[in-house]
């Protein structure tokens, strides 16, 4: 377990920095409170404790966040609307659906682009332009539009995720599918291999490193998309809604808890893709580094 020690070290460093930062960032408000309560000459240790125990801190202390996460997950029924596990699941399901759709779409588009010069020239600029359209502007249109035809729930949100996550996959896969060396392509030409055969036996395996890098980015962005899409449909719940309503109610601790769950989800998802990458590499006989 030579991985545990480094993680713990870095984690410890972060926690320490965090506590210190919490003192600094919450000090201002704490001073106001103390002045108001006519408290003077509070010893530093007490003051630090105070800054770590505010109701609406600028930066909640780690134990506050952990406590909130605990209260909102383990201490609650999983089906409760207050449960972060429940909201996490809502976000996760549209993230995963969106990621799968987005990866599929991205790969499909990349295949078309690599094989057809006309689509390279006509599609690519529009794919790029599509990404420059602010999602927050179109998310409501998608949600409202699909809602009008009776499609609600996970699907519209997954579509937003897909919309965001297909892009890294297209960009990466276009590059990846074009990365075989000339001589490797020439070999296929000498066999008069069909484009399809060249694709499966050469381009696809050659694109694996790019595919996995793209998928890691894609799944992270997919999660962002899921969260953003929830803004346009507060009714459905999800981590994004928790973040938002947390901020409406000034519940910084709630925001941070939701943020943590979202980040943890992302980390786990990215790591899952990483494991898949390792497994595929092994199957492809990759040379150990």
């Amino acid at each position: 377990m030579n991985r545990v020690l480094p993680i713990l070290t870095v984690l410890l460093a972060i926690v320490v920095i965090w506590y210190v930062a919490a003192i600094g960032m919450n000090a201002n408000w704490q001073n106001t409170l103390n002045t108001r309560a006519a408290l003077t000459n509070v010893p530093f240790t007490d003051f630090a404790q105070q800054t770590w125990a505010q109701d609406r801190p600028v930066l909640p202390a780690p134990h506050q966040v952990i406590g909130e996460i605990w209260n909102a997950t383990v201490a609650l029924e999983i089906t409760s609307k207050r449960s972060l596990a429940y909201h996490g699941w809502i976000t996760l399901s549209s993230t995963l659906l969106g990621f799968v759709l987005g990866t599929a779409l991205g790969v499909l588009l990349a295949i078309i682009i690599v094989h057809n010069e006309a689509s390279n020239r006509s599609l690519m600029p529009w794919i790029i332009a599509s990404q420059t359209i602010p999602i927050l502007a179109i998310a409501p249109m998608v949600v409202v539009g699909l809602g009008a035809v009776g499609i609600t729930g996970t699907v519209p949100r997954a579509l937003i995720s897909m919309y965001l996550s297909f892009f890294p996959v297209v960009v990466g896969m276009v590059k990846g599918l074009r990365s075989p060396e000339g001589i490797q392509l020439d070999l296929m030409r000498t066999y008069d291999a069909s484009p399809w055969q060249t694709f499966w036996k050469l381009r696809w395996p050659a694109a694996m490193p790019m595919l996995f890098a793209s998928m890691k980015v894609g799944i992270a962005i997919s999660l962002i998309g899921a969260v953003v899409s929830e803004l346009s449909n507060a009714a459905g719940g999800g981590l994004g809604v928790r973040l938002l309503t947390g901020s409406y109610n000034g519940q910084t601790i709630q925001i941070w808890a939701a943020l943590f769950i979202a980040a943890a989800l992302a980390a786990v998802l990215v790591m899952v893709v990483g494991f898949a990458e390792t497994a595929v590499n092994r199957r492809m006989g990759a040379r150990p580094a």
């Binding site: 001589i183 020439d186 066999y191 008069d192 036996k201 050469l202 694996m208 492809m284 006989g285 990759a286």
Partner: protein
């Protein structure tokens, strides 16, 4: 004159590469006819256009002047007919495939059955003496073994025309002799046409019915030597005067193409 019965017929063939710092004339005014069943060796200084010529035959480069026909058709159509097998100068094995899978690649593409694939892979791996390395990946093989794997890959399917670019360059004398004999046997048995790039004069003379000597800058054919050696060639033919005479002529042609004599670097 284009000869439509010839396997390869080149007329005033020229090929110029455009590069960042000027043109490189890789082939200029090449005229050559190769008939069915011939064994033609190409020999010439490094960079004289041997590989380029083979690639042009294989429709991997487009000539910039002149005409070239393969089996009476365009190189493109010949390629689409899978008229040839090509052994590249570098092994070009796919790193994610085991050796046997690499050798099976053309068979998969040409739609051979699994059992046929297995049978041919085994046979050609035996031929190049690679048995036992079926499940290894390319980076686990030595340089010479990789080259042999790539030869096996080209022999696995039965093309009538073999284009071989220095196939035995990384092999020791003994294996080389062995493979030379095997190749001659194969050629004799199957009546294939073979275009063979080599740097070894004895090898060229031993194998060929015709030796094409090339010279660089611009790449052109300087001599075409028809060999009158018998088709049946034991290894010790290499000590005969006929053999040595041809070898001497090739060496002269080769030397003429070099610049050392003139400016002596």
């Amino acid at each position: 004159m284009i000869d439509l019965t010839a396997v390869v017929s080149a007329q005033n063939l020229g090929l110029t590469f455009k590069t960042n710092d000027g043109d490189v004339v890789a082939l200029s005014d090449v005229n050559l006819t190769i008939d069915k069943g011939e064994f033609v060796s190409f020999i010439g200084p490094s960079g004289c256009g041997k590989t380029t010529f083979l690639r042009t035959i294989a429709d991997l480069e487009q000539p910039t002047s002149g005409t070239l026909t393969i089996n009476g058709q365009s190189p493109e159509n010949a390629r689409k007919d899978r008229a040839y097998g090509y052994v590249f100068q570098a092994p070009a094995l796919y790193p994610w495939r085991t050796i046997e899978k690499n050798i099976a690649l053309p068979l998969e593409i040409m739609g051979h059955s699994k059992s046929q694939q297995a049978e041919r892979v085994k046979r050609t791996m035996d031929l190049v003496n690679l048995s036992g390395f079926e499940k290894k990946y390319p980076w686990q093989l030595s340089g010479g073994m990789q080259q042999r794997a790539s030869i096996a890959r080209a022999l696995a399917f039965d093309a009538d025309l073999l284009l071989m670019d220095e196939p035995f360059g990384a092999l020791d004398e003994i294996v080389r002799d062995h493979l030379n004999s095997e190749l001659l046997k194969l050629w004799d048995r199957t009546k294939k046409t073979i275009c063979f790039v080599t740097h070894s004069i004895p090898e060229a003379v031993f194998l060929s019915t015709k030796i094409v000597v090339m010279s660089p800058r611009p790449g052109r054919v300087t001599d075409i030597i028809e060999s009158n050696l018998p088709r049946e060639r034991p290894l010790d033919i290499r000590e005969t005067p006929e053999f040595l005479a041809i070898a001497a002529r090739v060496r002269d042609g080769l030397r003429a193409g070099h610049s050392y004599d003139e400016d002596h670097i």
